[in-house]
């Protein structure tokens, strides 16, 4: 009885799978011979512990989906591991100097490389660029990348290879759409009937988009695995070296790291958020190595400039810069990284740590912990422990703070460390760990969110979206303070306000040259750091692992990790 119940459907399902797999890539060996070099290295096995759920990055903003799609779909320009723009499907990066960006900053002219084809053999034209814009901006589609296209009024296609994007207003940094893995080109022919509300229904297209990339989709099982094969029409001869890619999803970071570094079952494992000791023990087995890359994700501490629960009252202790500076000086960032991040973190003294041109060097030296200096600073500012309870006070205000963050092992470790160091300089901290789903919910009805800031000090991470930090830095403007009037949505959580900062932000929003923008960004960053509005702790990177037999990897935190998969190859031996 029970047996029947189980075996019958399982037989049916098994034969269905057999059918599916029997039509798998039989053509690959032939293609490899014909194209001399392409597909000669066999199968590449990649493990993403968060399984991709779709291959259409416009319907899902998830990193896992965007990176899986990057094997197939490509943008006009990618970002290099340093955060520089590299022309990809475009002939060059349009700038003011080469005339690609209009002098009034209201349009940008992209030119496609000549002779590009989709994997089905048809030509890539500027109409595909215009279509992709239309696809993401069509009402009712729920496009995840709509923000990138926000100010694009229309797209003109003067000829087959040229597309001109017109903006509603002057855009000093016009590289939002079609730069980076979030906004690749879609094939107009494939998605023509998938506009607006029809977008989610086009399952076949969403699960197997036709692209220009080195691989094309053979089979996609949402949330489980994807199989790709080399794109015979790929524009670079002899690439990619691998004939097939298996992108398996599921499990956790632990099992992913194990499968590459300890058992060698897979060639590449993505985003290994593991304790440093765990990773070190895995690497010691000698089957693979870890690679890390950094962009702008910075773990930081924010101070509340007003009394919790009353935004109108300045904070009795934290509005004194001496207190903020002393608290920052007492932290030993190196120990924190050693315990919490290992290879996935490095000391950051800046809120904007990258790209290199944007990173300020004015704050270097924050890595050295200075407990004595912190004590002196507090004493000079009048904060002394008069009643012998181990906590300093001034005019009846004691240095006792509530320190909150989201509940996770690394953050709780950081809290415990900070509490101990602050105790040594005569500051008492009460720790609070809030469930991440509440803390980061942005829910205006909850008192425990990052934005409500119902504590004196809080810790969280933030990043700039793309290499240009203007939108990110605008998060510390006076009017970005969360409050009832904006539905508690702002990012200036500490309620800090400096008119000089706002004026510089205004200057940034009308400056076009990349070098000038970088200089202004550095100044803004220095204001935040030197006034101790936010204390940068750790520049958090991405750590992945690959087997020793895999070559050509250049991990990239700005673009997809798989951005240069066409260059990957199997090392001999």
């Amino acid at each position: 009885m029970g047996d029947n119940f189980i075996t019958k459907p399982s037989c049916a399902a098994f034969s269905a799978i057999a059918l599916l797999l029997s039509c798998l890539p039989l053509g690959i060996p032939n293609a490899a011979h014909a194209l001399d070099g392409r597909g000669t290295d066999g199968m590449l096995r990649i493990l993403y512990w968060q399984a991709p759920s779709t291959l259409n990055p416009y319907l899902s903003g998830g990193v896992k989906d965007i990176e899986a799609a990057s094997l197939v779909l490509e943008p006009l320009a990618r970002l290099s591991p340093d955060g520089d723009m590299i022309p990809w499907l475009a002939r060059e990066i349009p700038t003011l100097e080469n005339g690609g960006v209009a002098p009034d900053l209201r349009s940008i002219r992209w030119q496609l490389k000549p002779g590009l084809t989709w994997s089905d053999g048809s030509a890539v034209t500027s109409a595909d660029i215009a279509f992709t814009h239309r696809y993401c901006t069509a009402p009712g589609a729920g496009c995840a990348q709509a923000d990138k296209f926000r100010d694009v009024a229309r797209v003109e296609t003067p000829d087959k290879l040229t597309a001109v994007l017109h903006f509603d207003e002057p855009k000093p940094f016009p590289y939002g759409p079609f730069v980076g893995p979030q906004t690749p080109l879609l094939q107009a022919a494939q998605f023509a009937d998938c506009l607006g509300p029809r977008a989610p229904g086009c399952t076949d297209a969403n699960f197997a988009p036709i692209g220009t990339g080195p691989f094309k989709v053979v089979e996609f099982r949402s949330g489980d695995a994807a199989v790709f094969e080399a794109n015979a029409a790929y524009r670079v001869p002899k690439q990619p070296a691998f004939g097939q890619v298996l992108l398996k999803g599921g499990g956790d970071a632990m099992s992913a790291g194990r499968a590459v570094l300890e058992t060698g079952e897979f060639d590449y494992a993505w985003n290994l958020q593991l304790g440093p000791e765990v990773l070190a023990a895995m690497v010691a087995r000698g089957k693979g190595q870890i690679v890390s890359s950094f962009s702008t994700l910075v773990e930081r501490i924010a101070f509340n400039f007003s009394v919790p629960d009353d935004a109108t009252q300045p904070h009795p202790a934290l509005s004194d810069i001496a207190v903020r500076r002393a608290l920052a000086m007492a932290l030993d960032r190196r120990t924190m990284i050693e315990i919490g991040y290992g290879a996935a973190g490095r000391v950051s003294c800046n809120i904007v740590p990258a790209p290199p041109a944007y990173a300020s060097s004015a704050n270097d030296g924050c890595a050295a912990q200075d407990l004595d200096g912190a004590r002196d600073l507090l004493s000079q500012a009048g904060w002394v422990d008069t009643d012998g309870d181990g906590v300093r006070e001034r005019e009846g205000t004691e240095l006792r703070f509530v320190f909150q963050t989201s509940a996770n092992t690394v953050r709780q470790n950081f809290q415990a460390l900070a509490k101990e160091w602050w105790r040594q300089i005569g500051v008492a901290a009460e720790l609070r760990a809030i469930d991440a789903s509440v803390f980061f919910s942005g829910d205006p009805s909850s008192p425990d969110t990052l934005e409500k800031f119902g504590a004196d000090i809080e810790m969280y991470a933030g990043a700039s979206d793309g290499p240009d930090p203007e939108a990110y830095l605008a998060g510390w403007a006076c009017d970005a303070a969360p409050g009832t009037e904006n539905g508690w949505q702002g990012r200036n959580v500490g309620n800090w306000c400096d008119p000089e900062y706002d004026a510089l932000l205004g200057a940034l929003s009308s400056t076009a040259g990349l070098a000038e923008r970088a200089a202004l960004s550095r100044t803004l960053n220095d204001m935040l750091v030197q006034q101790h509005v936010a204390v940068p702790l750790v520049d958090r990177g991405r750590v992945s692992a690959h087997s020793n037999s895999l070559g050509g990897i250049r991990i990239n935190a700005w673009d997809s990790e798989l951005w240069n998969i066409a260059d990957w190859y199997r090392l001999p031996g």
Partner: protein, 278 residues
């Protein structure tokens, strides 16, 4: 001979564990939160007999405190499940009118996919309970209520059967005819008579509650990192199995021992109550 030893085995195990978590901290007064950054990730030493974690906190002290949480969850969740199950089982067994609806309810609960619903409920009430009772008490209430609220059906079914059979017995009939009130009847005659199956249910319920807590911790729906239960410690220790095996093996062994103790206590009680089998 063997049978005589078995209840002792379960009781001894549970008593040993209770002593470890309750009296242990008096003998081993190291604070579970005290960090020693110079002694991180250590194996067994005289200063730290079970080693330390990545912040140099003493594993023995953490296991003692964590055990309080785990055993308390097991005990409270079990009490909830057993009292709920007893109420329903006894009511259904005594009253023909309530029998139908109550057993339908039990069947309905048995037909629910419990683990998924437990996870949904854990996600659902986490924030409100934390606001209401504070983060620690809220989480404790959530986990015990969720586990207890989905584990009462077995008890209800078994007790209903027992009570049913009991109602046919002469002394109960006699008690009824002289007009004994229901509460008195339950207290004086029924509960003593079903004490044995009740004890079995309670012991087994405790084992499954302790295991369920560890499963919730593993799936990320359990206690927060700053309130480490054995399940949470095991979850955090498993990645270190290769390099620092003690971090996983000790909490794993304690959970297993607790569950083993409770199950063998339950089995022994059952054997004692059923002389034919003993």
């Amino acid at each position: 001979m063997l049978r005589r030893r078995v209840p002792l085995f379960g009781i001894a195990l549970l008593a040993g564990l209770a002593a470890f978590v309750l009296i242990g901290p008096l003998i081993w007064p190291v604070a579970p939160t005290q960090m020693d950054l110079l002694a991180r990730n250590q194996g067994a030493t005289w200063a730290h007999p079970l080693g330390t974690d990545q912040l140099g906190r003493d594993l023995m002290a953490r296991l003692m405190v964590g055990g309080r949480v785990s055993l308390a969850v097991g005990l409270v969740a079990m009490l909830l499940a057993v009292s709920f199950g007893t109420a329903i089982g006894v009511a259904a067994g005594m009253s023909r009118r309530l029998d139908g609806p109550l057993m339908r309810l039990t069947d309905l609960f048995l037909a629910l996919p419990l683990l998924p619903l437990l996870l949904i409920a854990a996600a659902l009430f986490r924030a409100p309970l934390a606001v209401r009772f504070g983060p620690e008490a809220g989480l404790f209430a959530l986990i015990t209520i969720a586990i207890g609220g989905t584990a009462w059906m077995g008890t209800a079914r078994i007790l209903r059967g027992e009570v049913r059979a009991l109602m046919q017995r002469d002394y109960i009939r006699a008690a009824r005819t002289i007009g004994t009130r229901a509460p008195q009847m339950i207290w004086r005659h029924i509960l003593p008579a079903i004490a044995a199956p009740l004890g079995v249910s309670a012991a087994l319920g405790m084992a499954s509650a302790i295991l369920m807590e560890s499963a919730l911790s593993f799936l990320g729906f359990g206690f927060a990192p700053d309130m480490p239960s054995w399940g949470r410690l095991l979850y955090e220790g498993t990645p270190h199995l290769g390099a620092y095996p003690g971090r996983a093996l000790w909490p794993g062994a304690l959970i297993t021992l607790a569950a083993l103790g409770a199950t063998s206590l339950g089995d022994a009680l059952r054997d004692m109550a059923d002389p034919r089998r003993a």
